[in-house]
């Protein structure tokens, strides 16, 4: 396809412009900065009600969450995974087909820690991502960029005794979406993580340093705290790059929520 597609008839009558979204992002940011100046605690996660991300409008609860904190809550334990749940090839997204995928080959590695800095051992890490052209191997992704027959973009592994995970993949491309007119997602890899407690569950996205799309993206900007947002960006690590083979990125992950310290013994 050589020309951009026209929008399907009857779709989204009034998409906001990027300038309108930028103003909304700036207003959300300012109100967070003001709240901090007035003594509010730092916000580590996105607010579920974040108007610049249009899909959040009808998909966030309006009632406050109900606090629970019984040490015997079921959620302080969690599912376990083992060597039967992964295969050796699952962590190498470039070797899941007969040919090599197109794109810039990467190693992405880091440690998964709990908030006390202890390694999260033997837990499942799942990743999924677009191909180098910014297209997902998903039927509902109708971005007119080529699919790559040698790239699915799904991986998983178990963390080792130091909490380390490691994937070989290719750099995903940025892609357009319909949050607003001319909306583009910065390149990212989706991550799903388990801790030793279900309360530590995390689904997030890893970004690449220096991406020019950061300020325009309401999903990344939904993390209004500057330091927290920076924690979603991997670092390029030249020592991880393999000569004449791949570029290295390091991204450490800290799981929130009470850890199942009382359950930890005997789980591995």
């Amino acid at each position: 396809m050589s020309t951009p597609p026209s929008p399907p008839p009857g779709s989204s009558p009034a998409l906001a412009s990027q300038a309108e979204i930028d103003r909304e992002i700036a207003a959300q940011y300012q109100s967070y900065v003001d709240s901090r100046a007035a003594g509010a605690p730092a916000r580590q996660h996105p607010d579920r009600d974040y108007p610049p991300y249009r899909s959040s409008a009808l998909r966030h609860p309006k009632q406050p969450l109900v606090s629970v904190g019984d040490p015997e809550d079921v959620e302080l334990s969690g599912p376990v995974f083992g060597v039967t749940d992964v295969t050796a090839l699952d962590s190498d997204l470039t070797r899941q087909h007969t040919g090599e995928p197109l794109g810039e080959r990467l190693t992405v590695t880091g440690r998964v820690l709990d908030r006390d800095g202890r390694p999260v051992r033997g837990q499942l890490v799942e990743v999924w991502q677009a191909n180098a052209a910014g297209r997902y191997a998903h039927q509902r992704d109708d971005h007119p960029a080529p699919l790559d027959p040698n790239f699915t973009g799904v991986g998983r592994c178990l963390t080792d005794d130091e909490g380390r995970y490691r994937f070989t993949t290719i750099k995903p491309g940025p892609y357009p979406w319909r949050n607003h007119r001319n909306a583009w997602r910065p390149a990212h890899i989706h991550f799903s993580l388990f801790g030793t407690a279900f309360t530590q569950r995390l689904v997030t996205q890893m970004y690449f340093p220096g991406d020019p799309l950061f300020p325009y993206d309401p999903i990344l900007q939904s993390v209004t705290d500057d330091a927290a947002r920076q924690r979603l960006v991997a670092s390029y690590d030249h020592d991880l790059s393999v000569p004449e083979w791949s570029l290295g990125y390091r991204w450490d992950i800290v799981l929130d929520g009470p850890a199942a310290t009382w359950m930890e013994e005997g789980r591995l």
């Binding site: 730092a42 996660h45 996105p46 607010d47 991300y53 899909s55 959040s56 009808l58 998909r59 609860p61 309006k62 009632q63 969450l65 109900v66 606090s67 629970v68 904190g69 019984d70 015997e72 809550d73 079921v74 959620e75 334990s77 599912p79 376990v80 083992g82 060597v83 039967t84 749940d85 295969t87 090839l89 699952d90 908030r115 006390d116 800095g117 799942e126 990743v127 999924w128 677009a130 997902y136 191997a137 509902r140 699915t152 973009g153 799904v154 989706h190 799903s192 279900f198 995390l202 689904v203 997030t204 999903i219 939904s222 924690r231 979603l232 992950i253 800290v254 799981l255 929130d256 009470p258």
Partner: protein, 198 residues
């Protein structure tokens, strides 16, 4: 040492479908187990519309109240790289299902037992969706165990209409219904109670 700041959450987005769901994800009960119960429902947004791209995860105690869990929910085939499905014997306590085009979901599992003496058993549910920037936790309490439900501290602190959102409705024998409403709406439907863990 002050605690490390956590990595922020981001939405699961619309395209997790070829990555996270796995065959037999909703078949938590060992195949053909006579005590199997079915729990089904829909996930709805603030306009009462079904959410076709939500993902639910279930974690629960076994029928004996045991919370140890077991690997093998998503067994993989080292020969083909595909999924083998569960082994049909072990109870892992974990399930994962995506909603269908009508926002519907279903899991077949064994009824959880009390995780401590006198506790009201429940299925813990973690909800992900496009449009949801940070997952949500809720609980499915089963309507049997009246005494334990009456003594449950979480249910006891809620007004009746809020409390009702955490109770599965018995449809018919061994089948329960549990709808999840991410947001209360003008249609008068009550928003599901979601939980935060201290």
């Amino acid at each position: 040492m002050s605690p490390l700041p956590p990595t922020p959450s981001q939405t699961v987005g619309p395209f997790y479908g070829y990555a996270l769901p796995f065959p037999t994800g909703g078949e938590i009960a060992p195949a053909g187990h006579p005590d199997t119960i079915t729990v089904r429902g829909v996930v709805l947004d603030g306009a009462g519309q079904p959410i076709p791209d939500a993902l639910l995860e279930i974690w629960q105690a076994g029928p004996d109240g045991d919370l140890t869990g077991r690997p093998g929910s998503m067994r993989r085939d080292p020969v083909t790289g595909g999924f083998l499905g569960r082994d049909g014997v072990d109870f892992t306590g974990f399930g994962r299902v995506a909603t269908d085009a009508d926002g519907g979901w279903v899991v077949r599992t064994l009824p959880p037992g009390p995780h401590r003496p006198g506790a009201a058993p429940y299925l813990s549910v973690c909800v992900f969706a496009r449009g949801l920037l940070h997952h949500l936790f809720t609980r499915i309490y089963l309507p049997e165990h009246a005494d334990a439900l009456a003594a449950d501290p979480v249910l006891g602190a809620l007004p009746p209409e809020r409390r009702a959102t955490l109770l599965a409705e018995r449809d018919h024998d061994r089948t329960y219904r549990f709808d999840i409403r991410l947001q209360g709406g003008d249609g008068g439907h009550e928003e599901t109670v979601f939980l935060a863990f201290a």
